[in-house]
Symmetry: C3
Subunit: 205 residues, 3 copies
Amino acid sequence: MNISLTLELVAVGVCAVTGVLAAEGKQVDLFGVLVLAVVTAFGGGTVRDLLLGDVPVAWMRNPYYLLTAMLAGLGTFIVARYRSLPRTVLLVADAFGLALFTLIGTKKGLAFGVTVPVGVMLGVITGVAGGILRDVLTGTIPLVFRPKIYLYATAALCGATVYVLVLHWMPSEVVAAGSSLATTLALRLAAIRWKLELPLFHVRR
Amino acid sequence: MNISLTLELVAVGVCAVTGVLAAEGKQVDLFGVLVLAVVTAFGGGTVRDLLLGDVPVAWMRNPYYLLTAMLAGLGTFIVARYRSLPRTVLLVADAFGLALFTLIGTKKGLAFGVTVPVGVMLGVITGVAGGILRDVLTGTIPLVFRPKIYLYATAALCGATVYVLVLHWMPSEVVAAGSSLATTLALRLAAIRWKLELPLFHVRR
Amino acid sequence: MNISLTLELVAVGVCAVTGVLAAEGKQVDLFGVLVLAVVTAFGGGTVRDLLLGDVPVAWMRNPYYLLTAMLAGLGTFIVARYRSLPRTVLLVADAFGLALFTLIGTKKGLAFGVTVPVGVMLGVITGVAGGILRDVLTGTIPLVFRPKIYLYATAALCGATVYVLVLHWMPSEVVAAGSSLATTLALRLAAIRWKLELPLFHVRR
């Protein structure tokens, strides 16, 4: 198992945990928790792969993905009963997952020959669509649409854009990927730390 | 029209009826009712076929499917105005539909060469995703995530697992299919009868 | 840029504006507004293309689509702060978009060789699915399922049916397309003007 797959599985596990935690106070049972874990972890990549037509979708081809999401979901279900979870650690881990998924999505889109704006958009979709589906399934307006989440999608957008720009001017995959990850992570963590927000939509009467 | 298609059309019709009934008290009109009928009846198979990349999806290739769902939806719309529906009959019919859809989904997944856990998962998706979409469209947290539905998805999971296990140790398609249907049906009906539930998700403060 | 693409881009822009306006009073930020613009504008076509297996989906192949939806979304975000929008103009423009998207969807379905009822259904899906996704994402039961929207989907259904019928008896693409557009538009505008509604679903106790 190489380092890239390991990193991805860590990101899958973290997303699954955040999926489960969204069920707090919603009268959801063990099955619901496992579905939320899987949907949050694979939703973004699935939407991307369906739009690109790359099927069967990625997580169906390697059993480690499903196993990781299920174990993370089951583990959270059990542990959350007896211990409060370390929210700060989870927020940082989730920012890392966002950065990684965005990078993977952007790269995959470009590899399929879409234009640069669509590639960036596929990166953002890969990063945030799992959380959107999670929120739809738990009956709330997606967190990522709202100011109080602090630049979640914006961080992904910047990370994906940086990847494309760096690759254009300095054709090194490693530098581009590293800059992208660093940008998303830094922006997201800074936004949490200093409560940075996008402007709210407001309609004049 | 062979027996397998007839059984499937019955299951489609029953799912369509349950889709319509979910609109009770929600200010939905005739068009909404027909969409809910179609989405509930074909949602699970559609998600499965999209994930597998088997498109155009199954119900688009045989006009009987669409016709059955539409007539069931329209019939429910009319009948429900004048008579109360036999809820017990519907619950039993729905359990049969769940068993059949789960079996069909598991078989199709394995026929497309996915691994056994993913095949079981596709069976469960085929059985329950239509109901999840129905609940999302009517603005409620999916019933199947909640304890009070009494082992709906769990019955599907056991039925799909039994199919795979029986086929492994005793390579008879008929025995495996029969055992799977019997397992899902028996577990679901027993759960309704004795109010069996999965444990609820609970977060410690 | 030919006339057909121009018309389609206008329809995309109008759908994007209606997507943004659905966010009114929902605490949605700039990112949420842009997602709602894109989802409303491309949701119908995307569902249709996924069901047909025509991927990568249409809007990913021509950057003008994404650009139009984004600019319309951004423009609405800015303008709505300072001026009230001309709702009547928007309603008429939206009726035109519905007519055009329905026609495009029906034609595309038939070109992919589906049966006539499925072709009509794909036309309706292309016309209304974007709005359904918009409503799911903003946490409301889809407007198009409810009587007070005044024959939205029904207008699309009649427009798609007229296209198929005219083409059957008088094989002129132009006449069929024109009749379809006129039917959807006329029915929709008449329904708004005289508040025509489909019957409501009602369950007898």
